[in-house]
Protein backbone atom coordinates (compact mmCIF):
# COMPACT_ATOMS: atom_id res chain seq x y z
CA UNK A 1 0.00 0.00 0.00
CA UNK A 2 1.38 3.42 -0.93
CA UNK A 3 1.88 5.66 2.05
CA UNK A 4 0.65 9.19 1.96
CA UNK A 5 4.17 10.60 2.11
CA UNK A 6 5.07 8.94 -1.13
CA UNK A 7 4.64 11.32 -4.00
CA UNK A 8 3.25 10.65 -7.43
CA UNK A 9 3.28 13.50 -9.94
CA UNK A 10 -0.29 14.53 -10.84
CA UNK A 11 0.12 13.64 -14.51
CA UNK A 12 1.44 10.17 -13.57
CA UNK A 13 -1.33 9.71 -11.04
CA UNK A 14 -3.96 10.58 -13.62
CA UNK A 15 -2.44 8.21 -16.17
CA UNK A 16 -2.32 5.42 -13.61
CA UNK A 17 -5.90 6.10 -12.57
CA UNK A 18 -6.96 5.99 -16.20
CA UNK A 19 -5.17 2.65 -16.43
CA UNK A 20 -7.26 1.60 -13.40
CA UNK A 21 -4.27 1.01 -11.16
CA UNK A 22 -5.27 -0.15 -7.68
CA UNK A 23 -2.13 1.45 -6.26
CA UNK A 24 -3.06 4.79 -7.81
CA UNK A 25 -6.53 4.57 -6.33
CA UNK A 26 -5.03 3.75 -2.95
CA UNK A 27 -2.77 6.79 -3.25
CA UNK A 28 -5.76 8.92 -4.21
CA UNK A 29 -7.70 7.73 -1.20
CA UNK A 30 -4.82 8.19 1.23
CA UNK A 31 -4.11 11.73 0.04
CA UNK A 32 -7.56 13.16 -0.58
CA UNK A 33 -10.27 11.16 1.22
CA UNK A 34 -10.20 13.06 4.48
CA UNK A 35 -10.28 16.48 2.83
CA UNK A 36 -13.11 15.42 0.55
CA UNK A 37 -15.00 13.84 3.45
CA UNK A 38 -14.76 17.10 5.39
CA UNK A 39 -16.28 18.96 2.44
CA UNK A 40 -19.15 16.47 2.31
CA UNK A 41 -19.68 16.42 6.04
CA UNK A 42 -19.85 20.20 6.17
CA UNK A 43 -22.87 20.03 3.92
CA UNK A 44 -24.65 16.99 5.35
CA UNK A 45 -23.67 17.03 9.04
CA UNK A 46 -24.36 13.31 9.20
CA UNK A 47 -21.66 10.65 9.48
CA UNK A 48 -23.51 7.84 7.76
CA UNK A 49 -24.84 9.93 4.91
CA UNK A 50 -21.46 11.59 4.45
CA UNK A 51 -19.74 8.23 4.20
CA UNK A 52 -22.31 7.10 1.65
CA UNK A 53 -21.70 10.23 -0.39
CA UNK A 54 -17.94 9.77 -0.12
CA UNK A 55 -18.33 6.27 -1.48
CA UNK A 56 -20.55 7.48 -4.31
CA UNK A 57 -18.06 10.23 -5.06
CA UNK A 58 -15.06 7.89 -5.24
CA UNK A 59 -17.02 5.53 -7.47
CA UNK A 60 -17.83 8.46 -9.74
CA UNK A 61 -14.20 9.59 -9.75
CA UNK A 62 -13.01 6.05 -10.55
CA UNK A 63 -15.57 5.57 -13.28
CA UNK A 64 -15.20 8.99 -14.88
CA UNK A 65 -11.47 9.57 -14.60
CA UNK A 66 -11.23 9.41 -18.40
CA UNK A 67 -13.50 12.46 -18.54
CA UNK A 68 -11.14 14.52 -16.40
CA UNK A 69 -9.59 17.35 -18.42
CA UNK A 70 -6.46 18.82 -16.85
CA UNK A 71 -6.80 21.93 -18.99
CA UNK A 72 -9.88 22.93 -16.99
CA UNK A 73 -8.59 22.48 -13.47
CA UNK A 74 -6.50 20.39 -11.09
CA UNK A 75 -7.44 16.85 -10.14
CA UNK A 76 -8.23 17.97 -6.60
CA UNK A 77 -10.56 20.70 -7.90
CA UNK A 78 -12.31 18.21 -10.15
CA UNK A 79 -12.81 15.82 -7.22
CA UNK A 80 -13.86 18.67 -4.94
CA UNK A 81 -16.60 19.62 -7.40
CA UNK A 82 -17.81 16.01 -7.64
CA UNK A 83 -18.02 15.64 -3.84
CA UNK A 84 -19.67 18.99 -3.34
CA UNK A 85 -22.27 18.30 -6.03
CA UNK A 86 -22.92 14.79 -4.68
CA UNK A 87 -23.44 16.21 -1.20
CA UNK A 88 -25.77 18.93 -2.47
CA UNK A 89 -27.71 16.29 -4.43
CA UNK A 90 -28.00 14.28 -1.24
CA UNK A 91 -29.56 17.23 0.62
CA UNK A 92 -32.42 16.97 -1.88
CA UNK A 93 -33.00 13.30 -1.07
CA UNK A 94 -35.93 12.12 1.04
CA UNK A 95 -33.59 10.32 3.43
CA UNK A 96 -31.60 13.48 4.13
CA UNK A 97 -34.75 15.53 4.68
CA UNK A 98 -36.12 12.95 7.10
CA UNK A 99 -32.82 12.81 8.99
CA UNK A 100 -32.62 16.59 9.14
CA UNK A 101 -36.16 16.83 10.43
CA UNK A 102 -35.47 14.32 13.18
CA UNK A 103 -32.25 16.03 14.13
CA UNK A 104 -33.99 19.40 14.23
CA UNK A 105 -36.63 18.05 16.56
CA UNK A 106 -33.99 16.45 18.77
CA UNK A 107 -31.67 19.45 18.95
CA UNK A 108 -34.20 22.15 18.38
CA UNK A 109 -31.65 23.56 15.91
CA UNK A 110 -32.12 23.83 12.15
CA UNK A 111 -29.12 22.09 10.74
CA UNK A 112 -30.69 22.30 7.32
CA UNK A 113 -30.45 26.06 7.48
CA UNK A 114 -26.70 25.68 7.13
CA UNK A 115 -27.11 24.75 3.54
CA UNK A 116 -29.21 27.77 2.83
CA UNK A 117 -27.95 31.13 1.81
CA UNK A 118 -27.79 32.61 5.26
CA UNK A 119 -24.30 32.08 6.64
CA UNK A 120 -24.14 30.76 10.18
CA UNK A 121 -20.53 30.22 11.26
CA UNK A 122 -21.62 28.45 14.41
CA UNK A 123 -22.75 25.50 12.29
CA UNK A 124 -19.60 24.98 10.29
CA UNK A 125 -17.44 22.76 12.37
CA UNK A 126 -14.15 24.24 11.29
CA UNK A 127 -12.63 24.17 14.70
CA UNK A 128 -9.08 24.68 13.58
CA UNK A 129 -10.04 27.52 11.35
CA UNK A 130 -12.30 28.97 13.96
CA UNK A 131 -9.42 29.10 16.36
CA UNK A 132 -6.89 30.49 13.99
CA UNK A 133 -8.62 32.55 11.35
CA UNK A 134 -10.46 35.83 11.38
CA UNK A 135 -14.23 35.36 11.07
CA UNK A 136 -14.34 37.03 7.63
CA UNK A 137 -11.72 34.60 6.39
CA UNK A 138 -13.68 31.65 7.78
CA UNK A 139 -16.75 32.92 6.01
CA UNK A 140 -15.10 33.31 2.65
CA UNK A 141 -13.48 29.86 2.82
CA UNK A 142 -16.74 28.27 3.85
CA UNK A 143 -18.64 29.89 1.01
CA UNK A 144 -16.08 29.42 -1.74
CA UNK A 145 -14.64 26.00 -0.88
CA UNK A 146 -17.33 24.21 1.09
CA UNK A 147 -20.47 25.55 -0.45
CA UNK A 148 -19.09 26.18 -3.93
CA UNK A 149 -20.30 29.76 -4.22
CA UNK A 150 -19.07 31.67 -7.26
CA UNK A 151 -17.32 34.96 -6.59
CA UNK A 152 -20.47 36.82 -7.66
CA UNK A 153 -22.66 34.74 -5.32
CA UNK A 154 -20.19 35.26 -2.48
CA UNK A 155 -20.05 39.01 -3.15
CA UNK A 156 -23.80 39.20 -3.18
CA UNK A 157 -24.14 37.03 -0.10
CA UNK A 158 -21.57 38.97 1.90
CA UNK A 159 -22.61 42.26 0.34
CA UNK A 160 -19.05 43.16 -0.55
CA UNK A 161 -17.51 44.15 -3.91
CA UNK A 162 -16.31 41.42 -6.26
CA UNK A 163 -12.70 42.53 -5.92
CA UNK A 164 -12.93 42.25 -2.14
CA UNK A 165 -14.05 38.63 -2.47
CA UNK A 166 -10.88 37.85 -4.41
CA UNK A 167 -8.53 39.72 -2.12
CA UNK A 168 -10.21 38.36 0.99
CA UNK A 169 -10.02 34.86 -0.39
CA UNK A 170 -6.35 35.27 -1.12
CA UNK A 171 -5.69 36.73 2.29
CA UNK A 172 -7.52 33.84 3.95
CA UNK A 173 -5.44 31.32 2.08
CA UNK A 174 -2.22 33.17 2.95
CA UNK A 175 -3.27 32.93 6.59
CA UNK A 176 -3.89 29.22 6.19
CA UNK A 177 -0.45 28.82 4.66
CA UNK A 178 1.08 30.41 7.69
CA UNK A 179 -0.86 28.04 9.92
CA UNK A 180 0.11 24.93 7.96
CA UNK A 181 3.52 26.13 6.76
CA UNK A 182 2.70 25.77 3.06
Amino acid sequence: MIEKKQYIAPSDLINQLKAKSDLAFNYLYQNYSKALFTIIFQTLQNQELSEDVLQESFVKIWKNIDAYDSSKGTLFTWMLNICRNQAIDKTRSKLFKNNSQNQAIENNVSVFSKTENQFKPEYIGLKTLTNNLKPEYREIIDLIYYKGYTQNDAAEHLQIPLGTVKTRCRAALLELRKIFNH
Partner: protein, 265 residues
Amino acid sequence: MTPHELINSGLLELYVSGTLPEADNVLISKMADEYSIVHEEIKRIENSIIAALENENYTISNQAKNKIFETIKVMPLNDETKIVSFNKNRNIINWAAAAMFLLLIGASIFITILSKQKNQLAVQKTQAETDNETLLSRNTFLQTAINKAANDLSILRSHDFKKIMLMPVSSNNHEMACVYWNPITHQLFVDNCGLANPGNGKTYQMWAIKNGKPINVGIFNKNMYNKGLQEFASVDVVESFAVTIENQNQATLPNLATLQVAGKI
Protein backbone atom coordinates in the same frame (compact mmCIF):
# COMPACT_ATOMS: atom_id res chain seq x y z
CA MET B 1 -1.98 39.58 -17.11
CA THR B 2 1.48 38.72 -15.85
CA PRO B 3 2.04 35.68 -13.64
CA HIS B 4 2.54 37.89 -10.59
CA GLU B 5 -0.61 39.87 -11.33
CA LEU B 6 -2.50 36.62 -11.66
CA ILE B 7 -1.12 35.31 -8.37
CA ASN B 8 -1.99 38.50 -6.51
CA SER B 9 -5.45 38.77 -8.09
CA GLY B 10 -6.99 36.09 -5.90
CA LEU B 11 -8.19 34.23 -9.01
CA LEU B 12 -5.96 31.23 -8.30
CA GLU B 13 -7.76 30.63 -4.99
CA LEU B 14 -11.05 30.65 -6.85
CA TYR B 15 -9.52 28.41 -9.53
CA VAL B 16 -8.64 25.80 -6.89
CA SER B 17 -12.14 26.04 -5.41
CA GLY B 18 -13.57 25.18 -8.82
CA THR B 19 -15.94 28.11 -8.83
CA LEU B 20 -14.52 30.08 -11.78
CA PRO B 21 -16.14 30.04 -15.21
CA GLU B 22 -14.67 27.47 -17.61
CA ALA B 23 -13.02 30.09 -19.81
CA ASP B 24 -11.08 31.44 -16.81
CA ASN B 25 -10.09 27.90 -15.80
CA VAL B 26 -8.68 27.21 -19.26
CA LEU B 27 -6.75 30.48 -19.21
CA ILE B 28 -5.25 29.80 -15.77
CA SER B 29 -4.33 26.23 -16.73
CA LYS B 30 -2.45 27.59 -19.73
CA MET B 31 -0.63 30.10 -17.53
CA ALA B 32 0.21 27.28 -15.10
CA ASP B 33 1.65 25.24 -17.94
CA GLU B 34 3.71 28.20 -19.16
CA TYR B 35 4.84 29.60 -15.82
CA SER B 36 6.10 27.34 -13.09
CA ILE B 37 5.54 30.14 -10.54
CA VAL B 38 1.81 29.98 -11.26
CA HIS B 39 1.87 26.21 -11.13
CA GLU B 40 3.69 26.24 -7.78
CA GLU B 41 1.28 28.83 -6.36
CA ILE B 42 -1.69 26.66 -7.32
CA LYS B 43 -0.04 23.69 -5.58
CA ARG B 44 0.52 25.75 -2.46
CA ILE B 45 -3.10 26.91 -2.36
CA GLU B 46 -4.30 23.36 -2.90
CA ASN B 47 -2.04 21.98 -0.18
CA SER B 48 -3.16 24.68 2.27
CA ILE B 49 -6.83 24.00 1.78
CA ILE B 50 -6.31 20.23 1.93
CA ALA B 51 -4.30 20.65 5.14
CA ALA B 52 -7.03 22.83 6.63
CA LEU B 53 -9.69 20.31 5.73
CA GLU B 54 -7.67 17.39 7.08
CA ASN B 55 -7.19 19.16 10.38
CA GLU B 56 -10.87 18.95 11.12
CA ASN B 57 -11.89 16.22 13.50
CA TYR B 58 -13.97 14.23 11.07
CA THR B 59 -12.97 10.65 10.57
CA ILE B 60 -14.05 8.09 8.02
CA SER B 61 -14.94 4.76 9.57
CA ASN B 62 -12.94 1.70 8.53
CA GLN B 63 -16.22 0.16 7.48
CA ALA B 64 -16.82 3.00 5.00
CA LYS B 65 -13.26 2.81 3.76
CA ASN B 66 -13.51 -0.95 3.20
CA LYS B 67 -16.82 -0.48 1.45
CA ILE B 68 -15.27 2.02 -0.94
CA PHE B 69 -12.36 -0.29 -1.80
CA GLU B 70 -14.63 -3.30 -2.16
CA THR B 71 -16.94 -1.35 -4.46
CA ILE B 72 -14.04 -0.21 -6.61
CA LYS B 73 -12.65 -3.73 -6.68
CA VAL B 74 -15.80 -5.29 -8.10
CA MET B 75 -16.39 -2.55 -10.66
CA PRO B 76 -15.58 -3.21 -14.32
CA LEU B 77 -11.97 -2.23 -14.93
CA ASN B 78 -12.21 -0.02 -17.99
CA ASP B 79 -13.24 0.05 -21.60
CA GLU B 80 -11.08 -2.98 -22.19
CA THR B 81 -13.57 -4.83 -20.06
CA LYS B 82 -16.21 -3.87 -22.53
CA ILE B 83 -13.92 -5.05 -25.29
CA VAL B 84 -13.44 -8.30 -23.45
CA SER B 85 -17.14 -8.48 -23.04
CA PHE B 86 -17.52 -7.81 -26.73
CA ASN B 87 -14.94 -10.49 -27.43
CA LYS B 88 -16.90 -12.79 -25.18
CA ASN B 89 -19.94 -12.02 -27.24
CA ARG B 90 -17.89 -12.57 -30.33
CA ASN B 91 -16.68 -15.85 -28.89
CA ILE B 92 -20.28 -16.80 -28.27
CA ILE B 93 -21.07 -15.86 -31.87
CA ASN B 94 -18.06 -17.87 -33.06
CA TRP B 95 -19.15 -20.82 -30.99
CA ALA B 96 -22.67 -20.45 -32.28
CA ALA B 97 -21.35 -20.26 -35.86
CA ALA B 98 -19.19 -23.35 -35.27
CA ALA B 99 -22.17 -25.14 -33.75
CA MET B 100 -24.31 -24.13 -36.70
CA PHE B 101 -21.58 -25.30 -39.10
CA LEU B 102 -21.35 -28.65 -37.32
CA LEU B 103 -25.13 -28.83 -37.28
CA LEU B 104 -25.20 -28.19 -41.02
CA ILE B 105 -22.55 -30.86 -41.62
CA GLY B 106 -24.47 -33.25 -39.39
CA ALA B 107 -27.69 -32.41 -41.18
CA SER B 108 -26.00 -32.91 -44.58
CA ILE B 109 -24.66 -36.30 -43.52
CA PHE B 110 -28.04 -37.21 -42.11
CA ILE B 111 -29.79 -36.13 -45.32
CA THR B 112 -27.24 -38.06 -47.43
CA ILE B 113 -27.79 -41.18 -45.32
CA LEU B 114 -31.54 -40.71 -45.55
CA SER B 115 -31.28 -40.18 -49.30
CA LYS B 116 -29.21 -43.37 -49.66
CA GLN B 117 -31.65 -45.25 -47.52
CA LYS B 118 -34.49 -43.85 -49.58
CA ASN B 119 -32.81 -45.01 -52.80
CA GLN B 120 -32.15 -48.43 -51.27
CA LEU B 121 -35.74 -48.61 -50.14
CA ALA B 122 -36.90 -47.60 -53.63
CA VAL B 123 -34.75 -50.38 -55.14
CA GLN B 124 -36.03 -52.82 -52.53
CA LYS B 125 -39.57 -51.66 -53.22
CA THR B 126 -39.10 -52.21 -56.96
CA GLN B 127 -37.59 -55.61 -56.24
CA ALA B 128 -40.45 -56.43 -53.88
CA GLU B 129 -42.96 -55.33 -56.50
CA THR B 130 -41.23 -57.49 -59.08
CA ASP B 131 -41.14 -60.41 -56.66
CA ASN B 132 -44.75 -59.78 -55.88
CA GLU B 133 -45.63 -59.80 -59.55
CA THR B 134 -43.63 -62.99 -59.98
CA LEU B 135 -45.36 -64.57 -57.04
CA LEU B 136 -48.74 -63.43 -58.32
CA SER B 137 -47.89 -64.80 -61.69
CA ARG B 138 -46.63 -68.01 -60.10
CA ASN B 139 -49.74 -68.13 -57.99
CA THR B 140 -51.92 -67.66 -61.07
CA PHE B 141 -49.97 -70.36 -62.84
CA LEU B 142 -50.24 -72.72 -59.90
CA GLN B 143 -53.92 -71.94 -59.51
CA THR B 144 -54.43 -72.68 -63.18
CA ALA B 145 -52.45 -75.90 -62.78
CA ILE B 146 -54.49 -76.84 -59.73
CA ASN B 147 -57.70 -76.09 -61.58
CA LYS B 148 -56.53 -78.11 -64.52
CA ALA B 149 -55.44 -80.95 -62.29
CA ALA B 150 -58.82 -80.85 -60.58
CA ASN B 151 -60.53 -80.80 -63.95
CA ASP B 152 -58.35 -83.67 -65.21
CA LEU B 153 -59.07 -85.61 -62.03
CA SER B 154 -62.79 -85.11 -62.49
CA ILE B 155 -62.48 -86.49 -66.02
CA LEU B 156 -60.42 -89.46 -64.82
CA ARG B 157 -62.95 -90.20 -62.12
CA SER B 158 -65.97 -89.64 -64.33
CA HIS B 159 -67.93 -92.65 -65.52
CA ASP B 160 -69.13 -90.64 -68.51
CA PHE B 161 -65.70 -90.86 -70.16
CA LYS B 162 -64.39 -93.90 -71.85
CA LYS B 163 -60.73 -94.64 -71.41
CA ILE B 164 -59.00 -95.87 -74.54
CA MET B 165 -55.38 -96.97 -74.35
CA LEU B 166 -53.31 -96.15 -77.48
CA MET B 167 -50.60 -98.74 -77.68
CA PRO B 168 -47.46 -98.80 -79.84
CA VAL B 169 -47.87 -100.21 -83.27
CA SER B 170 -44.32 -101.62 -83.55
CA SER B 171 -42.38 -103.76 -81.15
CA ASN B 172 -39.51 -101.21 -81.15
CA ASN B 173 -41.78 -98.51 -79.94
CA HIS B 174 -42.57 -98.34 -76.28
CA GLU B 175 -44.67 -95.21 -76.37
CA MET B 176 -48.27 -95.05 -75.43
CA ALA B 177 -51.10 -92.59 -74.84
CA CYS B 178 -54.49 -92.62 -73.23
CA VAL B 179 -57.69 -91.12 -74.66
CA TYR B 180 -60.75 -90.10 -72.63
CA TRP B 181 -63.81 -89.73 -74.79
CA ASN B 182 -67.37 -88.94 -73.77
CA PRO B 183 -69.74 -90.76 -76.11
CA ILE B 184 -72.60 -88.46 -75.16
CA THR B 185 -70.97 -85.06 -75.29
CA HIS B 186 -68.22 -86.21 -77.68
CA GLN B 187 -65.58 -84.41 -75.60
CA LEU B 188 -62.10 -85.70 -76.26
CA PHE B 189 -59.07 -85.55 -73.96
CA VAL B 190 -55.69 -87.19 -74.46
CA ASP B 191 -53.08 -87.98 -71.81
CA ASN B 192 -49.76 -87.78 -73.63
CA CYS B 193 -47.55 -88.62 -70.69
CA GLY B 194 -46.48 -91.85 -72.39
CA LEU B 195 -45.25 -90.09 -75.50
CA ALA B 196 -41.63 -89.12 -75.87
CA ASN B 197 -40.67 -85.62 -76.89
CA PRO B 198 -41.16 -85.53 -80.68
CA GLY B 199 -37.91 -83.53 -81.18
CA ASN B 200 -37.17 -80.30 -83.06
CA GLY B 201 -39.36 -79.68 -86.12
CA LYS B 202 -41.67 -82.59 -85.29
CA THR B 203 -45.13 -82.83 -83.73
CA TYR B 204 -47.64 -85.49 -82.78
CA GLN B 205 -50.97 -85.47 -84.67
CA MET B 206 -54.20 -87.01 -83.36
CA TRP B 207 -56.54 -88.93 -85.62
CA ALA B 208 -60.01 -90.40 -85.11
CA ILE B 209 -61.01 -93.30 -87.30
CA LYS B 210 -64.58 -93.27 -88.39
CA ASN B 211 -65.91 -95.83 -90.82
CA GLY B 212 -62.29 -96.80 -91.58
CA LYS B 213 -61.36 -93.29 -92.64
CA PRO B 214 -58.98 -91.06 -90.61
CA ILE B 215 -60.24 -87.71 -89.40
CA ASN B 216 -57.69 -85.10 -88.36
CA VAL B 217 -58.48 -84.16 -84.81
CA GLY B 218 -55.51 -81.83 -84.30
CA ILE B 219 -51.92 -81.70 -83.23
CA PHE B 220 -50.61 -82.00 -79.76
CA ASN B 221 -49.79 -78.74 -78.07
CA LYS B 222 -46.06 -78.74 -77.53
CA ASN B 223 -46.43 -77.10 -74.16
CA MET B 224 -48.84 -79.74 -72.96
CA TYR B 225 -46.40 -82.68 -72.96
CA ASN B 226 -46.41 -84.38 -69.60
CA LYS B 227 -48.81 -81.76 -68.26
CA GLY B 228 -52.02 -83.72 -67.87
CA LEU B 229 -54.88 -84.03 -70.27
CA GLN B 230 -55.08 -82.06 -73.53
CA GLU B 231 -58.49 -81.37 -74.92
CA PHE B 232 -59.14 -81.81 -78.62
CA ALA B 233 -62.04 -80.93 -80.84
CA SER B 234 -65.15 -83.00 -80.22
CA VAL B 235 -65.63 -86.03 -82.31
CA ASP B 236 -68.83 -88.03 -82.68
CA VAL B 237 -69.12 -91.73 -83.08
CA VAL B 238 -65.75 -93.24 -84.06
CA GLU B 239 -64.17 -96.69 -83.91
CA SER B 240 -60.65 -95.96 -82.89
CA PHE B 241 -57.93 -93.31 -82.34
CA ALA B 242 -54.34 -93.06 -83.59
CA VAL B 243 -51.36 -90.77 -83.18
CA THR B 244 -48.76 -90.10 -85.86
CA ILE B 245 -45.55 -88.14 -85.73
CA GLU B 246 -45.37 -85.46 -88.38
CA ASN B 247 -43.43 -82.48 -89.49
CA GLN B 248 -44.69 -79.30 -88.00
CA ASN B 249 -47.17 -78.88 -90.80
CA GLN B 250 -50.16 -81.07 -90.18
CA ALA B 251 -50.56 -84.02 -92.51
CA THR B 252 -53.80 -84.36 -94.39
CA LEU B 253 -53.62 -88.13 -94.22
CA PRO B 254 -51.76 -90.44 -91.94
CA ASN B 255 -49.50 -93.21 -93.13
CA LEU B 256 -48.20 -96.29 -91.42
CA ALA B 257 -44.64 -95.08 -91.39
CA THR B 258 -45.51 -92.23 -89.08
CA LEU B 259 -48.06 -94.09 -86.97
CA GLN B 260 -46.88 -94.27 -83.38
CA VAL B 261 -49.75 -95.53 -81.22
CA ALA B 262 -53.34 -96.58 -81.81
CA GLY B 263 -56.28 -98.03 -79.88
CA LYS B 264 -59.88 -99.14 -80.47
CA ILE B 265 -62.87 -98.03 -78.44
